[in-house]
Symmetry: none
Subunit: 402 residues, 2 copies
Amino acid sequence: MTTTHTLTRSLAIKNETKIVLVVADGLGGLPLEPGGKTELETANTPNLDTIAKKGVLGMSIPVLPGITVGSGPGHLGLFGYDPLQYNIGRGVLESLGIDFPLESKDVAIRGNFCTLDSQGKISDRRAGRIASEVGVKLCQKLDDIEIPGVEVFVRPVKEYRLVIVFRGEGLQGNVYDTDPQQTGVAPREAIASENGSHKTAEICREFLKQAREVLANDAPANFLTMRGIACKPAIPTFEEVYSLKSAAIAVYPMYRGLARLVGMDVLDAGQTLTDQVKCLQSNWNKYDFFFIHYKYTDSTGEDGNFPEKVTRIEELDAIMPDITSQKPDVLIVTGDHSTPSKMRSHSWHSVPVLLSAENCRFDGSASFGESACRQGELGQFEAKYLMLHALAHAGRLGKYGA
Amino acid sequence: MTTTHTLTRSLAIKNETKIVLVVADGLGGLPLEPGGKTELETANTPNLDTIAKKGVLGMSIPVLPGITVGSGPGHLGLFGYDPLQYNIGRGVLESLGIDFPLESKDVAIRGNFCTLDSQGKISDRRAGRIASEVGVKLCQKLDDIEIPGVEVFVRPVKEYRLVIVFRGEGLQGNVYDTDPQQTGVAPREAIASENGSHKTAEICREFLKQAREVLANDAPANFLTMRGIACKPAIPTFEEVYSLKSAAIAVYPMYRGLARLVGMDVLDAGQTLTDQVKCLQSNWNKYDFFFIHYKYTDSTGEDGNFPEKVTRIEELDAIMPDITSQKPDVLIVTGDHSTPSKMRSHSWHSVPVLLSAENCRFDGSASFGESACRQGELGQFEAKYLMLHALAHAGRLGKYGA
């Protein structure tokens, strides 16, 4: 079957153009009432509006209408990988989120420290929410567990959360969670859900057996459960599918990890937007494609803080001239999903897209916002097609058929 | 592969929300001339317009652009079942249309009484359009036919039209029509079009052999032809794919049958919109999802009666306050296809959609009509995604991926 990537591989043209993709996490929002404005529409964004006048707008659907996505599928879509085809397991995402350098032979697992009572039943699924420092020490102990034939890595995430990685030949990731999602029962055995994963299940059981001994005197964190047991997905790189040398400039580990997953170089982004733009400028000549991630449009939405999300959008707007001054051939500003402060969560609503390039079919947009994007030239499209727009506007796609 | 229903099954959240889907059959229309208004735009619809102000609009494509659908695929799409995947045979649809309680082992066939001349060739494909009362009596005679190993049901539809159902183990539905679609030739033999259907073909031949004897003296209806030989499709229920307890409030048998096909309870809808709304009100606490079907927007379109279609839309508008007073969490008003009175038939044109819910991205719509729907927040989408919108706005879908 001809997929998007079959096309991009066969049509790819190399040239000197630069593409910048700015992802304002959870950018899309909601008006608080009929006739009202969204966060993006409320924000004073003179720079984004100027870019809109020189570009085109549209609305992106992260996966399918009505489907709310997490960060993983949200970003994969923006990167042009069908999120329904490339499913990233929870364990993998958790590992990416702590900057763990996953390799192709890895199985990654999200662990939760828990409390077992004297009968071996779970009395607290989060081990009394132990302090992060305690979790760090327990992970160090567990990291010493040895299992013949595989390497074992145990890393703390936060409080009772941890990541376990098994590295070895022929490991598959299809093992049921051992977390029973309730108290008063024993943790489940690690059981393969598919035939190829019996070896992984066996390793999980051996690890849990040893962990029970190691943690025996560490109540309330005297055991752990496993969830989201998953392989690093086999995923082609940006270089392979788009012939793009690409770099990620992201402050948060999760987004660095997602970029690394598709083969981007992960640059030192610093801590602020200003740091990120400096990084962009100093690496300008080294790459064809830059992914800049901005987190605070999402976190303020999650907090239900409409005015703060507006402020964070205005902060992003303020930095835009430092990006446009680099004269990217294609500049895209969008989000991986909507996070309306009204809902205090990710949502299914489509996401505003702004694309500026020499050969845009300028659509007369005067400002960047949901209402304007609904009427834009790009129309409403699935996020997985965004990279096609990017490549096309960069002159990096040849003609399909004679 | 991940399908819409794989997603809805895995992401389903149960809650107390109520979803009401009002289907005005053939709602979409055409202006009679450039610059003119459609039937829906011509109608005075203050109540629908008020709902539009509190909701969002869009345009639904029943199957694919340019494809005109019948009631079967039109409704399957609205119910979230890909009409290209779930093909409902003509015989099955015809059986649903007379409220025949099809079971999973049934093969259903649309029959036409016809006239054979002395040489056994068809001289009239509709048996002189015999009166319905005559058809009823002939069907009673045919219903007595006995074939070892299967149950035989013969039911009148109208005039020369009838339904034949064979019930038995292992029957498949892939048998060619025996109707040659022309006069002056003999009816065709019943021949299997796929290997698994030889038994069904044999039963058809035996039935037709006996029918020829039974009807020998009943000219002009001295024989019958068979069309649309089909199995009841294996189709998952609303409860299975959406975790919704659902009910249909439809006056016409065809729509009750389509609802029954996807596992809805079929309620006593009475005869009028007022009856239907009373039924909605009295069953409000028993279901999560209500499908209300309104036929007259289609039949007036088929009649080519523009002003009458306008009147029928206004009748629907007048009843809307009795629906909104129930305070559904999600209210959708749309059609299964367009039936422009200008064309006197179903058409391929996209269909107006109105959705109202708390977490809509209000799009500033002031009225419900084709022009406004083109600019709406929901954009243009395939009908099979409507249920995703419904579930999302009802808070009944969890997040895809972390």
